[in-house]
């Protein structure tokens, strides 16, 4: 095999070449920061929700695009985060009162609870050496079952879910104003973006990509691939939980559809269409598909999902790197053809 130098290594050698995507990211950030100046309230509210999905998509980008873990049940973490947060702030979880019942503590509990759950699941999956398609279907089964549990569990609202979640507050300030929510979610999105880019660029991220591209080789260098995958899985789950909490904060309701099959596969489509190997591309993919869906599903009704399915198949066959992915990627980050 006369492969060129591994893309991970060449990227590590020449950090200067990463300026281009960083500039684009900065540009996107500035556009979002200044957006409320347009005084378009409808889109401010809309964008707040879209950014929540964008954060969710970024978490899957790390897990799938960089970790090579095809996760068909990522919404389980999103939904679990939303449910745990909601149960705590509504005072429905015994023992979580007083300081433990505040928004911040609920947020932290939700994220750490989900991370712990992901660590347990990951331990079984990755030390069971499950990979590729197997992993996809097992996580899919997880999503379907989680949804059925949520539907059947009367205590957490059953089929109808939970409503009238009290607003998120920090030190007495309540996030009710749409603009305040917009900036809350935006700052979370920026923080997540910076965190994930840092993870991806760190030595850990480079090892991760080495495992993704050639697992036996990375293992023969002495890296514990299962442990790296579990850590990635946990980070991805924690970020997904954060986006779930933000969803509960913004929309003030949670329902079983958040935890199940359809959202899991939707996020997969956003990320695949956006570009799974570039975190910003995944974020933009989520925004683009959701915005398009809001517009076209009125026009096309049932035909929208048919169109999306067919378009997705075409994209998988002809644009495996996604629509924004090829545009935003480093020149030196091209994947080895034939691997995914």
């Amino acid at each position: 095999m006369n492969k060129p130098i591994s893309p991970a290594i060449s990227a590590a050698r020449s950090p200067g070449l990463r300026i281009r995507p960083a500039r684009i990211a900065l540009g996107v950030m500035v556009i979002f920061l200044l957006f409320p100046l347009t005084k378009n309230d409808y889109w401010v509210v809309n964008l707040t929700q879209l950014m929540v999905y964008g954060i969710f998509a970024m978490s899957l980008s790390l897990v799938w695009g960089y970790g090579g873990i095809l996760c068909f049940g990522h919404a389980v973490y999103f939904g679990m985060g939303a449910y745990i947060y909601t149960l705590i702030v509504k005072g429905m979880l015994p023992g979580f009162t007083g300081i433990l019942g505040t928004g911040i503590m609920a947020l932290i509990t939700a994220i750490s609870g989900v991370a712990l759950f992901a660590a347990v699941i990951g331990y079984f999956l990755f030390y069971g050496r499950l990979s590729g398609p197997y992993l996809g279907i097992v996580t899919l089964a997880m999503a379907v079952i989680a949804e059925r549990i949520a539907v059947d569990w009367y205590y957490i609202g059953g089929y109808n879910g939970l409503f009238s979640i009290p607003p998120f507050s920090i030190g007495g300030y309540q996030f009710i104003d749409p603009l305040a929510l917009f900036y809350l979610v935006l700052s979370a999105a920026i923080a997540v973006y910076l965190l994930l880019t840092h993870v991806v660029k760190s030595p850990f991220g480079i090892i991760l990509r080495a495992i993704r591209d050639n697992e036996p080789r990375a293992e023969s260098f002495g890296y514990n691939s299962a442990r790296h995958k579990i850590i990635t899985f946990v980070i991805g789950a924690a970020v997904a939980a954060l986006s779930g909490v933000l969803f509960a904060v913004v929309t003030e309701f949670v329902s079983p559809t958040l935890i199940g099959f359809s959202l899991s596969t939707e996020v997969l489509i956003w990320v695949a269409l956006g570009g799974k190997e570039v975190i910003l591309a995944a974020f933009l993919g989520a925004l683009a598909v959701r915005a398009l869906e809001a517009w076209l599903s009125e026009l096309m009704a049932y035909y929208w999902l048919l169109f999306l399915g067919i378009f997705f198949v075409i994209a998988v066959i002809y644009f495996p790197r996604g629509i924004f992915g090829s545009w935003l990627a480093d020149r030196y980050e091209h994947r080895i053809k034939g691997r995914s």
Partner: protein, 286 residues
């Protein structure tokens, strides 16, 4: 006592149909390395073939022939327009077939609506043996499933095609260098697997409510059966189907369907942690 026997028979019924679906999935996966996410939708299409023949007044029986034919042809078409382009990227086939499954499900919703449809049972009488009454149609399903399973085993263990197919499963490149036309074999296999799922859907249609989500309800246990039983061998599917299907029926009867799913899923995960190659599978390091 009579109750228990009826429950066992119902469980057996589920197990046999599950094995039928899982065998198609396994053959496609073993041979082509393709996880066919649209397999549940092939089942769905088979069931809706029955709905169509009922609506145009042909009744149930023609569907028994039409369903595998139609679904097989659809499978062949999908292999030609979509999967054929992805043999070099096996992991992407899971995404592409998932897109196909989404499109098929949506087409069904466009044509038949999202609500469940019922089909009148074709053999509406009971058979009673030793004081136990059991629906004749369910016995018919079991007979069909048994015949199809035996037929599949015959094809794979006793015919030239089966020999070639097993060679491809064992070592794809070696089989190709020995002159086996793997591309043609892929197409045949995919068509055959789709037809199996279509037939399974058709025979199950009269005892289920046909709704656009019914495919997923069979796809997941079918896949778990393969996972538990191990890939690469048809006997693995038998064992896996018996454990997953039997366990599911048992726990559904004693507790609830949700608890059954959770228990089976947890068991499957723990099992693959202990025995990654499945119960009967041979370790295949690719």
């Amino acid at each position: 006592m009579a109750d228990l026997i009826i429950q066992i028979l119902n469980g057996l019924n589920f197990v046999l149909v599950l094995i039928m679906v899982a065998m198609g999935l396994m053959i496609i996966f073993g041979l082509m390395n393709v996880i066919n996410m649209a397999h549940g939708e092939f089942f769905l299409l088979g069931a809706y073939t029955v709905v169509v023949t009922n609506q145009i007044g042909l009744g149930f029986w023609p569907a028994l022939v039409l369903a595998p034919l139609a679904v097989g042809l659809i499978g062949m078409f999908i292999e030609y327009v979509c999967i054929r382009h992805l043999y070099q990227r096996p992991l992407d086939t899971i995404l592409a077939t998932w897109g196909v499954s989404l499109a098929i499900k949506q087409l069904i919703i466009i044509f038949f609506g999202p609500a469940g449809l019922t089909v009148s049972p074709p053999l509406p009488w009971m058979i009673s043996v030793a004081g136990i009454n059991y629906p004749a149609y369910r016995l018919f399903i079991m007979t069909v499933a048994l015949i199809i399973i035996a037929f599949t085993f015959y094809i794979f263990l006793r015919t030239d095609f089966g020999l070639g197919a097993r060679a491809v499963i064992a070592n794809r490149d070696m089989a190709a260098t020995l002159g086996i036309d793997t591309r043609r074999m892929y197409r045949t296999t995919f068509t055959f697997g789709a037809a199996l799922a279509g037939l399974a859907g058709a025979v199950m249609a009269p005892i289920m409510s046909c709704d656009p989500q019914m495919g997923l309800g069979f796809f997941i246990p079918a896949f778990l059966s393969i996972l538990v039983g191990g890939t690469g061998t048809l006997y693995g599917v038998l064992a896996g189907g018996a454990i997953v299907g039997g366990g599911d029926s048992l726990f559904s009867y004693h507790y609830s369907p949700v608890i059954a799913q959770v228990v089976i899923f947890s068991l499957a995960i723990v099992l693959i942690r202990i025995r990654p190659q499945g119960l009967l599978g041979a370790r295949n390091n690719e």
